[in-house]
């Protein structure tokens, strides 16, 4: 006996985000970090901060930490993003 069965997946793609224009260079730019606040991020972002300033000539680094590491960034942090030339964020510990 044959079956006709239905697709259990979402089938509705979420709206795609668009990549912001890439800066040609980081020299003199402002870079924002959005950390999830977990223990391992402290050393990681401190090292990245040093590297961006010393090796890439970044003018300033803005550190922000989410109030809940399992939820999207707080609205007030998202509101600041427009002031930065580039942003580093990510998932994981």
């Amino acid at each position: 006996m044959g079956f006709q069965v239905l697709d259990p997946t979402n089938e509705m793609a979420p709206p795609l985000g668009q990549l912001a224009p890439r800066p040609g260079s980081l020299r003199g730019k402002t870079v924002g970090f959005i950390s999830n606040g977990k223990e391992g991020t402290k050393g990681y972002f401190a090292h990245l901060d040093r590297m961006l300033r010393e090796d890439f000539g970044v003018a300033s680094v803005v550190n922000r930490t989410k109030s809940n590491y399992s939820a999207p960034a707080d609205g007030w942090i998202v509101g600041e993003i427009a002031n930065w030339d580039a942003i580093v964020t990510g998932i994981g510990d």
């Binding site: 006996m1 044959g2 079956f3 006709q4 069965v5 239905l6 979402n10 979420p14 223990e39 399992s70």
Partner: protein, 351 residues
């Protein structure tokens, strides 16, 4: 009824299984073929149109419709009468306080613990007696499984994909219990959380695996509850210091001692709130001294307030075996209770 899901042809039952397994659409176990008739019967029973939007998971902007949930419920083995509980549970999971993306993506590997209350339990044959946290009956087995399949397929919560669990636990196949209301003098969990007695309701909680306790050597309420509190303290030490929702599953043998001594669920929660707490310095005893720092004397309760304890009467008639069910990650995800079907003045309750 207008269903919009893509239709696949499969020659026989074996071909259906291979189609679903090979696409990553299962939990590894065989599924029931989700035919149009079976899916429509679920939607009919719940008086829900297929395009009803249950919610949108905000992190990934994925919509969840009744049609897609019904397909996954049929796959899990649900009959139409089981679907209203699935529909309500998934809607509860989509409440912002539940933090669904975090709870299902986290390395912490929690599962969705579901408690059924009210008349629907008897209508669908959900048992809260023997083997309550295991394979106790068809209804709880398929309702819990439906939620997992829906997460896998509708929200792409697949191991190694969105699901980043290090270990997970067996409750990720199914983790649903019906409270044994007929054999308990206590208010049900749903009543305790503000639902009227005549309402059927579902409570969902992002939960770690059950930690079983045993105490058959006392009838004294404080001694019985001290065993539960000790297991919660162990969880605070070995897992996480964050306070959140904990569930206590209390079987009949232990319930009888508590009830005959006049202890209500509120009394139990007050006692556990006081006893289930540790100083941070205890982390040094279990190999986590590196993060004690200068806060060794700080006290960490398992519960921010007694109301965060979910006391559930369930388990077979003999045996002093109970369980604590710990939270995934403190109170970042809050338990949510929702009424099944239409209920005036029965909004979702979280916390």
């Amino acid at each position: 009824m207008h269903l919009t899901s893509r239709i696949y042809d499969a020659g026989d039952i074996a071909a259906v299984q291979e189609l679903y397994h090979s696409n990553g659409w299962t939990d590894g176990l065989p599924i029931v073929p989700p035919t149009r008739d079976a899916v429509e019967a679920c939607l009919d029973w719940a008086m829900t149109p297929p395009d009803q939007l249950l919610g949108i998971e905000p992190v990934r902007a994925l919509a969840v419709t009744a049609e897609k949930l019904a397909i996954n419920a049929v796959m899990a083995g649900c009959l139409p009468m089981h679907f209203p509980a699935v529909l309500t549970a998934f809607t509860a999971m989509l409440q912002p306080e539940f933090l669904l993306h975090g709870a299902t993506a986290s390395t912490g590997g929690c599962a969705i613990f579901v408690v059924l209350n009210g008349p629907i339990r008897r209508e669908i044959g959900a048992s809260g007696s023997f083997n309550a946290l295991g394979n106790s009956d068809r209804a709880t087995a398929v309702i819990g499984r439906a939620l997992r399949l829906a997460l896998i397929n509708i929200l792409e919560v697949r191991p190694g994909g969105i699901d980043r669990s290090t270990l997970g636990h067996p409750g990720k196949f199914t983790f649903c219990v019906a409270e044994d209301e007929e054999d308990s003098a206590w208010l049900s969990l749903a009543e305790q959380r503000g639902m009227p007695k005549e309402v059927s309701a579902v409570t969902v909680m992002a939960a770690g695996s059950p930690r079983q306790i045993m105490n058959e050597w006392t009838t004294e309420p404080k001694e019985i509850l001290e065993t539960f509190a000790a297991e919660m303290r162990a969880n605070l030490r070995h897992y996480s210091l964050h306070a959140g929702n904990y569930a206590l599953v209390i079987p009949k043998q232990l319930r009888e001692h508590l009830i005959s001594a006049g202890w209500s669920k509120t009394d139990i929660a007050a006692f556990i709130h006081e006893r289930a707490r540790i100083p941070r310095r205890e982390w040094a005893d279990v190999g986590k001294g590196a993060v004690v720092r200068d806060r060794g004397d700080s006290i960490y309760p398992a519960l921010e307030s007694p109301e965060h304890l979910l006391v559930v009467a369930a388990g077979g008639p003999a045996g002093g075996f109970g369980a604590i069910i710990p939270p995934w990650l403190g109170h970042k995800s809050q338990a949510v209770t929702m009424a099944i079907g239409a209920c005036v003045d029965c909004g979702p309750v979280s916390g």
